[in-house]
């Protein structure tokens, strides 16, 4: 081996996307998530009607009470598609998370993500006030599940969400769009918009006999600053996903815990 030959023992830490597939996989992943969100809600609403637990007009609202629990099915479906894609492309799940980093660097990164997300929190709080005043936003107010299901929504769902959601959008969809479009900023903008748009599909609420479209718009607007911040941080950290996943787990797990303990009134 000559001096110029790169060592095979030391992989180059290059901030390049790992996924090798085409944009078809990205479309499949986003479509899977949206179809699963809608399918699971409609299925649960149908079951509630069949069981006589809810009237037809109220069944979607009743199903929405469980959205923090059945979100696990959507994330499991997402993980299934991710596993299928990475097996087909012969890459590892770890490679989707970006270059390696020491545990202390990841921990420091998590703190950085939490701090950098503060403006999004303040912005979102003002959006909440503009839409709902001092009332609890509907997606938190509607949650009403038994203790065991609440515990599941705190302990399991946020973990599954982090293994699936940011990996899908930032680890799989974004690199493929970057390669197809050739402009990272445009690909990132599309990913943020798609990611935000997905939130319009859960939970589906009914107001005055119709789908509450104002709530769907609120969902998209309120999550947009978070998703834009995390996508920008993904680049700032050299395409490392673990700090973002860690911070999101704290956010989402904390929210689920606050709802489960009825701290959100």
């Amino acid at each position: 081996m000559s001096a110029a030959t790169p060592s095979h023992r030391q992989p180059a830490v290059v901030a390049e996307p790992a996924a090798a597939g085409g944009v078809g996989g990205a479309v499949l992943l986003v479509a899977t998530r949206i179809v699963l969100w809608m399918g699971v809600q409609l299925l649960l609403a149908g079951l509630l009607v069949l069981a006589g637990a809810a009237a037809a007009g109220e069944s979607l609202d009743e199903a929405a009470a469980w959205w923090m629990v059945y979100g696990a099915l959507v994330d499991l479906g997402t993980l299934g598609v991710i596993v299928w894609l990475i097996r087909r492309e012969r890459i590892s799940y770890r490679s989707l998370l970006g270059p390696p980093a020491a545990a202390w660097q990841v921990a420091l990164g998590v703190v950085g993500v939490l701090v950098a997300t503060a403006p999004a929190v303040f912005f979102s709080a003002e959006v909440n006030k503009a839409y709902y005043g001092d009332a609890t936003p509907p997606m938190l107010a509607v949650v009403d599940a038994p203790t065991v299901a609440s515990a599941f929504s705190v302990l399991v769902v946020p973990l599954l969400a982090e293994l699936a959601e940011p990996v899908a959008y930032l680890g799989v969809v974004l690199p493929r769009l970057e390669r197809r479009i050739g402009r990272p900023w445009l690909a990132a903008t599309i990913v943020v918009l798609l990611w935000a748009a997905e939130h319009a599909f859960y939970p589906l609420l009914i107001t005055d006999g119709n789908l509450d479209l104002a709530f769907a718009v609120y969902r998209v607007v309120s999550v947009l600053p978070f998703l834009a911040t995390w996508t920008a941080l993904y680049y700032a950290f050299g395409r490392r996903l673990l700090p973002i996943m860690g911070a999101r787990w704290i956010f989402n797990g904390g929210t689920a815990l606050a709802v489960a303990l009825s701290l959100v009134e």
């Binding site: 990164g109 950085g112 701090v115 950098a116 503060a118 403006p119 999004a120 303040f122 912005f123 003002e126 600053p225 834009a228 911040t229 920008a232 941080l233 680049y235 700032a236 950290f237 050299g238």
Partner: protein
Amino acid sequence: MDSRILYRVTYLAAAMSLGHHIDHAIRHNAVGWPLTDEVNAFTMSLVIYPIIITGLLLYRAGRVGPGFWALVSGGGAAFVSAVHFGPSAVEPPEMMLDGYDSPVLGWLAFTWLAVFVTVLAITSLYETRVWWQQRQVRRADRPATGAGIER
């Protein structure tokens, strides 16, 4: 590559800072000298422009690196957050949202502020990472000295 990105994010942050100061001037609330006689947070915040210009000159001359910019960006994010979002905020979001006759302009100004602070925070984290990486490279390149040297 890092240097080019660093210049770009510095120009972006400077442009967003200028936009925020213009917003203050148009709303004419929470402003100080030179627009009024009072010296306050607005006046102090103007010091960022000489810092940026001096920093750019020193960076070009190789006298300061990403660590300097991480401190400037992080300090800026902390200052602007404390003034606008902190518990003792002198200009809370309501002052911006209600600062214009048109609610759309108020939301535009508030959105600009949120993006500005986010840009500063993310820029600071990016610059910290670049600073750390450069430090690691310098350490690795440094020749061994001291006990290992044989006469």
